[in-house]
């Protein structure tokens, strides 16, 4: 498998498939082009679709994770209070997990038809029908110019570093605070002085959060929130009753107990759920394919583009480049998590 990954990275640095005749030749002449494919993806005129997809993925991941965590935690908290027929409720909340994203996509595509499904639902209760174009909307909000991307990224990273520095100061870790603070200052300086003069694209290109994504996010949350619920429920059941008892004896209100005792204990679960959901959402492809079709650029994601680029247009090198970018994104999420859990396991054993 790692040979395959290496091969993908190599292919992404060549020009294989940029010329259709060469792509289909039996023994294609493949030239080394370095990072040209990546440059094309981020700054090329024709690849605006990919840039929008990156933005889509980020928004999708954000809201998908928030939705699953929120709903999952809510459901778990309710079930933890031992309602009657708990097993039945749990089954209801969890069954979408067993479905394929394709099945979910097909169902929700019908649910979200512009004049039917969910928009018609209010009429059952005697209310006027809704008119939101779930999957067909072409509006977007929170637009920004792609040329501002370096500025935005640098600022966000710098803010995170500042936050880390502040935390380190509070924890009394001098060196860490100084390093983090310095990096933040450097980045901010770079963002304010150099970045505005960088031009990735000749013309401004606006990208934002496409409203058509909301429907897909809802479907994804529908499918995956049972999973977070199961995780949280297992975590809640693992909290010894004495701990809650003790908090109550100390005079904590229900709210206070959740705030100070239970939620901190659930934090590790939240982290691993975020990691798992995050990597699912970076890879998501079949759901979008089934709900919006392959050609709806407003809802597309890089994983889908990779498939189309490689196997419909036969631009293997470009496809490999997208695949590599996805791999890097996933690695960003996974590697720190794995190494930390691996270390704790070593210490444990």
């Amino acid at each position: 498998m790692y040979v395959f990954i290496g091969r993908t990275m190599y292919v992404s640095l060549t020009d294989w498939g940029n010329d259709p005749a060469q792509a289909l030749a039996l023994n294609p002449v493949i030239r080394w082009v370095g990072l040209a494919n990546y440059q094309d993806l981020f700054t090329g005129f024709l690849q605006g679709r990919f840039r929008q997809e990156l933005v889509n993925t980020i928004f999708f991941t954000l809201f998908f994770i928030l939705g699953c965590l929120g709903l999952g935690l809510g459901l778990a908290l309710i079930l933890d209070r031992n309602p009657r027929g708990e097993g039945l409720w749990r089954t209801i909340f969890l069954f979408p997990m067993s479905l394929s994203f394709i099945v979910t996509g097909t169902i929700w595509r019908w649910m979200l038809q512009p004049q039917g499904g969910l928009n018609q639902f209010p009429t059952v209760l005697g209310l006027p029908a809704g008119s939101f174009g779930w999957l067909s909307s072409t509006d977007s909000i929170w637009k920004f110019d792609w040329n501002k991307l370096p500025l935005l990224t640098a600022s966000v990273v710098a803010l995170v570093l500042v936050w880390l520095a502040v935390r380190a100061v509070r924890a009394g870790d001098r060196t860490r605070a100084v390093v983090a603070g310095l990096c933040a200052a450097l980045l901010l300086g770079w963002a304010l002085l150099v970045a505005p003069n960088l031009k990735l694209l000749p013309a401004p290109e606006a990208h934002g959060f496409n409203l058509a994504l909301i429907g897909i996010i809802v479907a994804a949350v529908w499918q995956m929130s049972g999973y977070t619920m199961a995780l949280y429920l297992a975590g809640l059941r693992g909290i010894p009753e004495e701990l809650r008892e003790a908090a109550r004896v100390d005079g904590a209100s229900d709210f206070g107990m959740y705030r100070h005792v239970i939620f901190p204990l659930l934090a590790p679960i939240t982290l691993s759920a975020m990691i798992i959901l995050g990597h699912i959402s970076l890879k998501i492809f079949d759901l979008v394919y089934a709900m919006a079709g392959p050609d709806n650029t407003y809802t597309s994601v890089p994983a889908l583009n990779m498939y189309l680029t490689s196997f419909r247009q036969n631009q293997f090198a470009l496809g490999a480049a997208i695949g590599t970018i996805l791999l890097i994104l996933v690695a960003f999420v996974i590697v720190p998590y794995l190494s930390s859990s691996f270390r704790s396991e070593e210490g444990h054993a």
């Binding site: 498998m1 790692y2 395959f4 990954i5 091969r7 993908t8 809510g74 309710i78 209070r81 031992n82 309602p83 009657r84 027929g85 089954t91 909340f93 969890l94 979408p96 997990m97 067993s98 479905l99 394929s100 994203f101 394709i102 099945v103 996509g105 097909t106 169902i107 929700w108 595509r109 019908w110 649910m111 038809q113 004049q115 039917g116 018609q120 009429t123 529908w222 199961a230 995780l231 297992a234 691993s272 990597h279 079949d286 089934a290 994983a303 498939y307 490689s310 196997f311 293997f316 496809g319 695949g323 996805l326 996933v330 690695a331 590697v335 794995l338 859990s341 691996f342 396991e345 070593e346």
Partner: protein, 288 residues
Amino acid sequence: MTTTVPTSSAQPAPVPRRAGLGRVGLYVLLVVAALFFLLPVYLLIATALKTPDAINLATTWQWPRALNWASFTEAWGKVGGNVGNSLFLAVVSTILAALLGSLNGYALAKWKFRGANTLFALMLFGMFIPYQAVLIPLFQFVKALGLYGSIWGLILAHVVYGLPITTLIFRNYYAEVPDALVEAATIDGAGFWSIYRQVILPLSVPAFVVVIIWEFTQVWNEFLFAATLTNTSSQPVTYALSQLAGGQAVSWNLPMAGAILAALPTLLVYILLGRYFVRGLLAGSVKG
């Protein structure tokens, strides 16, 4: 490993709750949540049972006046063969992945060879690799083997890709098996294989159940490999369904019936063996 037993029936209300009002609110919330999860299913079934001309956007939510079971026969005619493909694919890949995973897990847990931990870390990361990052070379590889378009190419892909997770589950399971058992067998002169056959394998039934359920669902539901590595005759049901639903002027009872057909096997597995399914889910994420 986790609490999967219904504690509710055993002890009615372990914690005295303040009153009925909060309790009622609890059930209201539960019902609302259940509606969110079940409404799509209602719509799915209702639409699948309508005749094409009874499907009307304005009456989407009404239960059909006359039940039309013909949707299922028609959908079966279109995707039935693919269901067969999926079944064959899922069963074969699951068995292979489970057996190999169990061997791997045994080797990693009980035979501490050099680099075992590194190998394990690499495998763990392998679990999360996006399919897209291996798709092109995999495609070439399968083609070079002459397996492109055949279901065996797809099986190969699934076995390779399923190994990390099955290995992980088995390794964690075998870690609980006391080392003394293996040591005793070694003293009796048993080797790697005979220990596996006579000591480890008989112990691993529960782990096999978890792995098989997990792998079966995964393979059955997978789409990307299915879309790239197969041709018309070997496509599994997920791909066939996406084709069925993909057309624009399609009458919706067909894809809905198809979706039910495609969902039934995993749904049955889930409902009948739900406890193990949840265990697989948890094993796939939080471990140790």
